[in-house]
Every structure is written in structure tokens, then in C-alpha cells.
């Protein structure tokens, strides 16, 4: 007992780190803890709003596209790819830290560049997903009783519950000829130009069978979906971007032999903590936006 008490007083007497970790590493952990609260607050705010609404969006319906696959329905496919990219880049990062402990510069270089590529691959995926949502126009039955096209932005959400076919057909005559032309041309693969001369009644007549044959017209969903999705994935993506920049800096410093001169690779460890945190946050973003 007495030796334990003695050791305890020694720990906090100065001259040594009570946590046996360097100042930089301890502070990196505390920064990450505060960042966890930031992300936690965002996600809990999103959850609160979602709990308060009867209808939310069906994530399997929103995120069902894959690059170069057109309109094929592939729920969860693209986001699984993104998740595995991030898990794998986490593994290469922890391998870089491992090589750093062994003072193996070549190994650190190899795994750092792989981690940077993983981060860039993830960012490219996210850029594609955002573009897909922002540019994808969807036909919805608007509150004014007309059919309109909507994309997914911070203030638009076309992913509300499906409108009934009768309501959609009734709405056709109140819709603008432009919307009807794009609806017909998209579904029958005719050019918009060839429909230019037709009066509204002809366009309605052409569009009616498309809807009665089962073409889905949506409605506007809660606007907060887009705001939360772009805010949280954007904030996470910004973390990934800054993580990639930090990793590139670490890679260059490794190449220049800075850490060999210093005698340890602790900077790689600190950058690694940040990078793993980015992966950790993605695990929760993946849960909250895509799985449940």
C-alpha cells in the first residue's frame, strides 16, 4: 500500500507525464473528444427532428444508385463501397503507425501514400454522391396541385411519400408543358424537340398512360432531410479532406527524413489518431443516414 501511495504522489509531482503519453498525443485525444461532441450534437439534432416527424425519407430509395449503372436499383451498394474504402484506409494508416514504431521509413512511406489514396477515393465517391443528389431531377406532385421537378438540396426534398396515380393524373393538366415534355421524353425516349409543337392537351394525353402504367410520382418530403444530410456528410467530408492534407504533409516529412532525424515517428501516430477518428465518425454517419 505504502509503495502504491508513494508511486501515486510521484506521478503527479512533475517531471513526468501522469498519463505516460506526450503532451501532443494527450491533447489530440482531447481535441477528438470535443469533436466527437460536435458530431454527436449534429447527429442527435438530426435524430430529434426525425423522431418528431411521422414520415421521413426511405434511405434505400434515395441512395440506390451506383456510378455507370443508370437507373438500376442498388440499395446500399455505393455506401458499402465508401465504408470499405474508409475501413481499408484505416488499416493502412495503422500499419504506417506500426512501421513507425519499428523506425522503418520505407514502410511508413508505403502505407502513408496508400492511406492518402484511400482518402482521395472516399472523397471522389462523396463528390459523385452529392452531384447525383444535387443534379437528379425527380417528378413530384407539388402542393399547388401541379407536377414539378425537384432535386435534393438543403431546401428541396423530392423523397416524400408516393402520390396516388389518380391524383398524379389529375395534376397533369395543371402542370407546365415543360415538365410534361421532360416526363414524356424521359420515359418514352423521344427527344424534347419533337414534343415542342404539341399543345398541352396532347401532352397530357401522352403522359397519362405513363403514370397509369406505374411511373411513380413522389411528393415533397421534409426539407430538413437535405439540410441534415449535406451538413453532416459535408462536415465529415471536410474532416476527410483535412485528414488527407495532414497525411500528405506527414508523407512529405517522412520522405525528407524529418522523423528519422527526430528519432521517433510520433507525428504519424497523432495523424493516425485523427484519421481513425474520421473513420469512427463515418461508422455513425453510415448508421444514421443509410442503415436506419
Amino acid at each position: 500500500m505504502s509503495t502504491a501511495a508513494q508511486q501515486e504522489t510521484k506521478w503527479w509531482n512533475g517531471g513526468r507525464s501522469p498519463f505516460n503519453a506526450s503532451y501532443g498525443k494527450v491533447m489530440m485525444w482531447y481535441f477528438l473528444m470535443s469533436d466527437a461532441f460536435t458530431f454527436g450534437a449534429f447527429l442527435i439534432s438530426y435524430a430529434t427532428l426525425r423522431f418528431s416527424l411521422k414520415d421521413w425519407v426511405d434511405s434505400n430509395h434515395v441512395f440506390n444508385a451506383f456510378p455507370f449503372c443508370g437507373h438500376t436499383n442498388l440499395p446500399l451498394a455505393f455506401v458499402s463501397l465508401m465504408t470499405f474504402i474508409l475501413i481499408f484506409s484505416s488499416v493502412t494508416m495503422v500499419l504506417a503507425v506500426h512501421e513507425g514504431h519499428k523506425m522503418n521509413r520505407k514502410g511508413v512511406e508505403k502505407y502513408m501514400i496508400l492511406t492518402v489514396f484511400g482518402g482521395l477515393a472516399f472523397l471522389s465517391c462523396q463528390a459523385w454522391e452529392w452531384t447525383h443528389l444535387l443534379t437528379g431531377e425527380h417528378f413530384i406532385l407539388a402542393a399547388n396541385g401541379a407536377i414539378e421537378t425537384l432535386n435534393t438540396t438543403v431546401s428541396h426534398n423530392p423523397w416524400g411519400p408516393q402520390a396516388s396515380a389518380t391524383a398524379a393524373i389529375n395534376a397533369l393538366q395543371h402542370s407546365s408543358p415543360e415538365v410534361l415534355r421532360s416526363l414524356i421524353s424521359e420515359e418514352t425516349h423521344t427527344s424534347v424537340e419533337s414534343l415542342k409543337g404539341l399543345p398541352l392537351s396532347d401532352l397530357v394525353a401522352k403522359a397519362t398512360p405513363i403514370i397509369s402504367e406505374g411511373f411513380h410520382i413522389g411528393t415533397a418530403g421534409p426539407v430538413s432531410f437535405g439540410s441534415y444530410f449535406f451538413e453532416i456528410t459535408g462536415f465529415h467530408g471536410f474532416h476527410v479532406l483535412s485528414g488527407v492534407v495532414i497525411n500528405i504533409v506527414m508523407y512529405i516529412k517522412t520522405l525528407r527524413g524529418d522523423f528519422d532525424k527526430r528519432g521517433h515517428y510520433e507525428m504519424i501516430e497523432k495523424a493516425g489518431l485523427y484519421w481513425h477518428f474520421v473513420d469512427l465518425v463515418w461508422v455513425f454517419v453510415f448508421l444514421c443516414f443509410y442503415l436506419i
Binding site: 506526450s22 473528444m33 442527435i44 418528431s52 484505416s90 488499416v91 514504431h101 523506425m103 481513425h276
Partner: protein, 144 residues
């Protein structure tokens, strides 16, 4: 391999033992991949349940709960092994984990708040909505 390089500052008296092999890292990778694949299959199961005419709400809720628990397991593996928090000394682990327990209150309080909003909306707004819908329906009927 000398241990000198591991000492980054005279204030640090020992470094946790680092395994010489990468076996533990790869094992963690496979555990994370396996958990993710289970999560994805549960996600697809939820998708298929929703395709049915009358989705089984309690089964969906159960699957969502399982997915949440699996996510916490993934978080544990990332923090403990990839971030090496499990190798730090106990006091340090506690200074990070104890503040995070604030999330228990945070999540509980806000989800209860969300549910309360929903109930208030149901009580005051939905009645209002049905009043508005009624004349619209008669209007449609008149047209027919």
C-alpha cells in the same frame, strides 16, 4: 531494435509494448468487415420488409436496434485497437471515456424531446389537417 527511439520525452517513463507482428491489426480488419457485412445484410432485410404490403414494424425496430449495437462494437474496435487507446494507462482512458458518458443523457433527453414534439403535432396539427382535407374531398366528388 533499441528501445531508445521509443522514448519521446524524458517525462515518459515507459512506452506500451508494441507487438512486432501485424496479426492483431489484420484480425481487427476482418472483425470490422464482418460486422459491416452483417449490418449491410440487416439493412437489406429492412429494405425487403418495407417492400411488403404490411411491414412488420416491431421486426424493423429489432433489426435497427441490432444494427446500432453492431455499430457500437465497431466503434469499440476502432478506438481500442486502431487508435491504441486500449494500450494507454487506465487513468488516461478514463479521462476520455467518462466525459463521453454525457452522451447517455444527451441522447435520451433529446429523443424524448423529439417524441414529445411528435405527440404535440399529432394532438394539435393533425386535427387541423383533417379539417382542411374534408372540403377538398367534397370538391373532388363534385367534379366527378
Amino acid at each position: 531494435m533499441s528501445s531508445e527511439h521509443a522514448v519521446t520525452s524524458p517525462e515518459i517513463t515507459f512506452m506500451p509494448e508494441h507487438e512486432s507482428g501485424t496479426k492483431k491489426i489484420w484480425r481487427t480488419f476482418w472483425v470490422l468487415s464482418f460486422l459491416t457485412i452483417i449490418e449491410l445484410s440487416l439493412g437489406l432485410a429492412i429494405y425487403n420488409i418495407h417492400q411488403a404490403a404490411e411491414p412488420n414494424a416491431s421486426l424493423v425496430l429489432f433489426f435497427k436496434g441490432v444494427v446500432c449495437i453492431l455499430t457500437l462494437a465497431k466503434a469499440y474496435y476502432i478506438v481500442s485497437i486502431f487508435m491504441h487507446l486500449g494500450d494507454e494507462i487506465r487513468n488516461f482512458i478514463m479521462t476520455i471515456l467518462v466525459p463521453l458518458s454525457l452522451f447517455v443523457w444527451f441522447l435520451t433527453a433529446f429523443l424524448i424531446d423529439g417524441t414529445s414534439w411528435k405527440n404535440l403535432r399529432h394532438r394539435y396539427m393533425d386535427k387541423h389537417e383533417t379539417e382542411q382535407v374534408a372540403p377538398a374531398a367534397t370538391e373532388k366528388g363534385a367534379k366527378d
